[in-house]
Symmetry: C2
Subunit: 153 residues, 2 copies
């Protein structure tokens, strides 16, 4: 009965579950940082360096899709805490390359590894197929919403 209405209603709920989902995910990340000297934003910097290799501040900003000025602050903090260091950039003398220190690498890899363990626990009950479906739907919905929001600009 009224299958179309159910569909729209579920879609609506799915979209607005994004906030609690994000908050829950961020809370888990934060919880995993307790005891380390990392903040969430330092963790983000380390993750980019670990995942994509050493980079400049503007490169990190592009990948995180936030402004370089803010990433600069994040990197300065991370560097003050000894998790990253600057290296000369042969391609641009004013823009040093940020690289993980040994400490930084150890810390971020520990954290990512324990986050992976968490993923396994969270995924425990769910089928591979259902997760794939969910991902596909969420992608499609996000793209569609982006398009609609963009049009009105």
């Amino acid at each position: 009965m009224h299958n179309v209405i159910m569909k729209i209603e579920h879609l609506h709920q799915l979209i607005w579950m994004s906030r609690p989902l994000m908050q829950a995910a961020e809370a888990c990340v934060e919880a995993g940082l307790v005891g380390t000297d990392l903040t969430v934003r330092m963790r983000a910097v380390l993750e980019m360096l670990d995942k994509y290799g050493e980079q400049t501040v503007p490169e990190i900003a592009a990948r995180l899709e936030i402004k370089r000025q803010y990433v600069q602050i994040m990197c300065n903090e991370t560097r003050e805490s000894g998790f990253i260091e600057q290296r000369a950039n042969p391609r641009h003398k004013r823009s040093p390359i940020m690289a993980l220190t040994d400490l930084g690498r150890t810390v971020i890899e520990d954290i990512i590894s324990s986050e992976l363990t968490l993923m396994e626990e969270v995924g425990g009950d769910l089928s591979s197929e259902d997760i794939a479906t969910a991902l596909r739907v969420v992608h499609a919905v996000t793209d569609s919403l982006k398009q609609h929001a963009g049009e009105r600009e």
Copy 2:
């Protein structure tokens, strides 16, 4: 091949799609508000009153799961703009009931209706079953993450 790894990888992506999804959804809401005199937070107040009927500030705060002090500010603004009005509360003389004005009701119902139309467009390509699956998965993941984050407190 390595199905388990794919599953975890998809789950990871699904979880972190929550941020772009939320941002896209919020951008759509904002875009829909252009031209009205509503702000996003006034819209939130109106939606609660339209959906659950007239309520006090603390009740709205409980439903939005944010602090009553902030909801107070939101409601004061919304009232100054003429979208809601106060009514005497027989159950608590210091805590008036917030109610939609005719203007407020018209405005919020127009907005919700056009947002519903957007939902229909966004859902167009997707099957009812897949949306239901996605919603179920996202619910399960959120609950699981909440539990894990809570444990560490």
